[in-house]
């Protein structure tokens, strides 16, 4: 990894602080454009940066060569040694000056049109299908991490860092939102790319509702809120080896999703339920979701060529 030699970026505001480091809005003083700077503190040993970090960064750089329209550009990565035990890794991303949260809040009543929602969903799933086909999971999808340009182009931010963070961060307790977390993460079972599809389902519902679908205040509360909609899963579906018992939850039945998302059409509701499926192995994949009848319906007039 290159050292930070020419570094034309000046931070102008802090926009995120997680367990692993800090995110800044910054200006590239050469082009005048904004960038997003992510500083990650990584523990080092006598061999320098951990192999896993180097590998993750190499993967992100490889992804970059595809120039995918629905993920933010990674412009630069460099390392600054801090001490014998710690190195600061700085990732420089293209900055997009609007997120989905703001975009939804700004939409005048009664909210986004069904065409607009479909277009946003298609782009979101294209970005995810691209990441997943490269074995990258996002793991923290939420409206703040989904960026929307002034031209309506969706770009995913904040992906592929999960491994860099989880292996090497000096853990500090942070409050992270639970609302987009799938049951397998809440139950601390094993998880993989289907986590992102669950989050996408929550966001799909939110595009119609203009408020989040499941607003839990703790892991247990979040699970309870999920079961009130999808029903308590069968005993056989409950993952083995998790500490939380199924008996903690009332035996509620699934309710029609249209009780919660009344504006959604029939195919949309079907797709949504395939995303909000308890068992991650039965949950629809990003690629299959893109093939779903929902995206083949009449109402989409603008059949996007590449997105």
């Amino acid at each position: 990894m290159a050292h930070c030699t020419s570094f034309p970026y000046e931070p102008v505001a802090e926009i995120g602080g997680g367990a692993y480091g800090t995110v800044y809005k910054a200006r590239d003083t050469e082009s005048g454009k904004f960038v997003a700077l992510k500083n990650v503190r990584v523990q080092t040993d006598q061999n320098g940066l951990p192999v896993s970090t180097v590998r993750e960064v190499a993967l992100l750089k490889r992804l970059e060569q595809f120039d995918h329209p629905n993920v933010v550009r990674l412009m630069d990565v460099c390392a600054t040694p801090r001490s014998d035990q710690e190195t600061k890794v700085t990732l420089v991303f293209e900055h997009v000056d609007q997120d989905l949260k703001t975009y939804l809040e700004k939409a005048p009543a009664p909210g986004l049109s069904s065409d607009r929602i479909k277009d946003l969903m298609r782009q979101l799933l294209c970005g995810l299908a691209f990441l997943h086909s490269n074995q990258v999971m996002h793991r923290d999808l939420k409206p703040e991490n989904i960026l929307v340009t002034s031209q309506g182009q969706v770009k995913l931010a904040d992906f592929g860092l999960a491994k860099i963070y989880s292996c090497h961060m000096a853990l500090t307790p942070v409050v992270v939102t639970l609302w987009y977390r799938p049951p397998e993460v809440l139950l601390q079972s094993t998880y993989a790319t289907p986590v992102d599809i669950w989050s996408t389902g929550c966001i799909f519902a939110e595009m119609f509702r203009r408020k989040p679908l499941f607003c839990g205040e703790s892991e247990m509360d979040q699970l309870g809120k999920i079961f009130e909609v999808i029903g308590l899963p069968q005993e056989e579906e409950w993952p083995t080896g998790v500490t939380v018992s199924r008996k903690n939850f009332p035996a509620v039945k699934a309710r029609p999703i249209t009780d919660f998302v009344p504006e959604i059409n029939e195919q949309g509701a079907k797709l949504l339920m395939q995303m909000l499926t308890f068992d991650p192995l039965k949950r629809i994949s990003a690629l299959n979701a893109l093939e779903h009848l929902y995206f083949q319906d009449e109402e989409t007039s603008n059949q996007d060529e590449t997105l």
Binding site: E10, P11, V12, A13, E14, I15, K25, R27, T29, G32, K33, F34, D97, Q98, D99, K101, T102, Y103, E105, K106, E144, V148, T149, S150, Q151
Partner: protein, 128 residues
């Protein structure tokens, strides 16, 4: 870790497009034209896609004509480059100067044109 001041909080809320926080910080006495620890005001760093944040700041007397201390970029340059036409209109209505030049001598309309934002170009050209 440096201590966050009210000014830092205000610029962070503005950059995140968090209108409710911007409003409550202003009520709690954050100076609308005060600078954060990077020497920038809220209007200079606000999320360009969030006209509600811009409106809250401008109604509280934010100066839309502060240029970046390194590049002389103004908020109108940023709005024009990123193509948010609502933001461009709002800034112009609040007396942002369409003739401001950055350190490469570019006008806001130049940046809109360079980035293919036809609607912004058309609007800025009506101001001449």
């Amino acid at each position: 870790m440096t201590m966050m001041t009210l000014q830092d909080d205000l610029t962070t809320a503005a950059a995140k497009g968090n209108t409710a926080d911007v409003e409550s910080l202003l009520r709690r006495g954050a100076a609308v034209n005060g600078v954060n620890r990077f020497g920038r005001t809220a209007v200079q760093v606000m999320m360009m896609g969030s006209w509600p944040v811009a409106q809250a700041l401008l109604q509280h007397g934010a100066d839309p004509n502060v240029a970046d201390r390194s590049t002389r970029t103004t908020p109108l340059h940023d709005a024009a480059r990123t193509g948010f036409v609502d933001m461009v209109r709002l800034l112009v209505a609040a007396q942002a100067d369409p003739q401001a030049r950055d350190n490469q001598s570019r006008l806001p309309v130049d940046l809109a044109r360079e980035n293919g934002h036809a609607e912004v170009v058309a609007f800025l050209e009506t101001l001449k």
